[in-house]
């Protein structure tokens, strides 16, 4: 054990630095819905498929009022850490919303991939709250019942929502367990490494945490909306 005055050799605690950092060969599409390859699809949409009244409804939601001010500069897409995985970048989502192409917007993976880091919102030169727009679109997709049923992100949101309504708090172990049961039970094995490390350091509890005043909680929350 080195005493605190001893000069430590330079780089002693640095992991050896490789010549070049490993490059991750990431998949282009992480999640693709099964498509029938024999079906030929039109790649553009016609004006009559657009519904501008839907746009107006979206824009009237809190946080979405700036949408018409978008100048399509693409700063949001450039600052988004997840844009490389999205089927439509945030800039394109905004334009699709403004044109009223709700069909494409609400079925896109983009709205669910948004991790709400708010980078786009603080960078936007027109001060559009893009993250709040994405939240609105997630809720629109759930209301229209077109949110992908087994895509893990909306399923996680549903599990989380149910647990909070019932207990007032969430417990990570039970959230993850329910998520895996609904999407990918074999995912247990890929999670094992992390799970064991968490158990070893006592950071994972099997106890479902709950609040005392559950009556107060029931009064607070409106009657359950049907979700997922």
């Amino acid at each position: 054990m080195p005493s605190s005055t001893e000069k430590l050799p330079a780089g002693a605690y640095n992991p050896p630095m490789p010549e070049a950092f490993p490059v991750v060969q990431g998949p282009v599409a992480v999640f693709t819905r099964a498509k029938d390859e024999s079906v030929i699809r039109r790649r553009i949409r016609y004006q009559r498929e657009a519904d501008v009244s839907w746009t107006e409804r979206v824009v009237s939601q809190p946080g979405c009022e700036g949408l018409y001010g978008c100048i399509q500069c693409g700063t949001c897409s450039a600052s988004c850490p997840l844009a490389i995985y999205m089927d439509f970048t945030p800039r394109r989502i905004i334009q699709l919303v403004r044109e009223g192409f709700h069909h494409d917007v609400l079925r896109s993976q983009t709205i669910w991939l948004c991790a709400s880091c708010y980078a786009c919102a603080v960078h936007c030169p027109q001060d559009i709250h893009i993250t709040d727009v994405m939240y609105t679109l997630k809720r629109e997709a759930i209301a229209a019942n077109v949110a992908p049923k087994r895509f893990p992100i909306p399923v996680l949101a549903g599990v989380f929502y149910d647990m909070v309504r019932k207990h007032g708090r969430t417990s990570e172990f039970w959230v993850v367990l329910r998520l895996l049961l609904r999407t990918n039970p074999l995912g247990f094995f890929s999670m094992a490494r992390t799970g064991i490390a968490l158990l070893r350091t006592r950071r994972l509890s099997f106890v479902q945490d709950r609040i005392k005043a559950r009556g107060e909680l029931q009064a607070l929350l409106p009657p359950a909306e049907e979700v997922h």
Binding site: S3, S4, E6, P18, K138, P152, I153, S205
Partner: protein, 308 residues
């Protein structure tokens, strides 16, 4: 840089732990409480708090997410507190967003008021939300922290990672693009930091669990850049960032880069250590990655002798 000198910091804060600080982020709670004890400031847990209604909940029902956050603020108000400390970035953001939305949108304010009325809670919107980093920087100040430091730093250079939600739109923590308060506090007490370029890049949050290929890659980039910028550990203020970078590092090692072994600390652990906290009461035993490094750094005797 220094705090307004006229009045000292309040001697008690009410704090809202949130689910993370009671689960995978328990080291954050332990080190936060230890650090404030060493600063002679009392911290009381908010009685019967509930989930803040964070990211996932907001995706399903915005109205009741605001109501959930508002209940915590109402509980703080009922307990006589004018400020509520929220150490978790997601909780902090949702509480701040609730205050902001209730001010800007009468429709949101009305539905939150109705919900609070149904639950018999005060419909106030007057409780101020505080983040520990902002309390340390504004209320307590670097000079006061420095005067209480009892240890010299025996570790290496740190990359300050702010994460995303703590510094974003509704925040008063720091600049959303180029935050520097963590560096200022650490440098003031002799802890060296590096210029970490990805300081506010998102760790992906729950993506490590939902779509691992994407989540792990975001975390790999954060870890890789910290090493490239010359850091030997990462220090953060968000329980989810710490969880992702620390707990999933084993998976990243297996999938991408074997040599990776970067400890991921909370700011409160580093400050708590300098103020005289011990290994266990700072939750340093809960770290998963870079444990050998941590054992070397934090086993120094309790004397005021500087290494750097």
């Amino acid at each position: 840089m220094s705090a307004p000198a006229q009045a000292g910091p309040p001697d008690r804060y009410v704090y809202f732990p949130g689910c993370s600080l009671k689960g995978t982020g328990v080291a954050y709670e332990e080190s936060l409480l230890t650090m404030f004890r060493k600063l002679d400031i009392g911290v009381d847990e908010l009685e019967d708090w509930n989930c803040c209604g964070a990211t996932s909940y907001m995706a399903i029902s915005e109205g009741s997410a605001f109501a959930l956050a508002a209940r915590n603020l109402a509980l703080a108000h009922r307990a006589g507190a004018r400020e509520l400390m929220a150490p978790c970035s997601a909780c902090y953001l949702v509480l701040m967003k609730t205050l902001d939305y209730r001010k800007r949108y009468p429709s949101v304010d009305k539905s939150v008021r109705e919900a609070l009325d149904r639950a018999g809670l005060p419909a106030t919107n007057g409780v101020r939300v505080r983040h520990p980093l902002e309390i340390l920087y504004n209320d307590i100040g670097a000079a006061r922290i420095k005067s209480k430091v009892v240890r010299g730093w025996t570790g290496g250079r740190l990359a300050c990672y702010y994460g995303c939600q703590a510094v974003r739109p509704y925040s008063e923590v720091d600049d959303p693009h180029q935050p520097t308060r963590m560096e200022q506090l650490l440098n003031a007490i002799g802890v060296p930091t590096v210029d970490y370029t990805l300081r506010t890049k998102c760790c992906g949050g729950s993506l490590t669990g939902t779509i691992p290929t994407v989540g792990l890659r975001l975390n790999y980039e954060l870890l890789k850049e910290s090493v490239r910028n010359g850091a030997e550990a990462i220090v953060t203020i968000c329980p989810l960032c710490q969880f992702n970078l620390d707990a999933y590092q084993g998976q990243i090692r297996a999938d991408i880069w074997k040599a990776l072994d970067v400890p991921v600390l909370y700011l409160t652990q580093v400050l708590g250590w300098m103020l005289g906290g011990e290994w266990r009461e700072l939750g340093l035993n809960r770290s998963i990655s870079g444990v050998s490094v941590l054992k070397r750094w934090f086993s120094a005797p309790k004397e005021k002798e500087a290494y750097v």
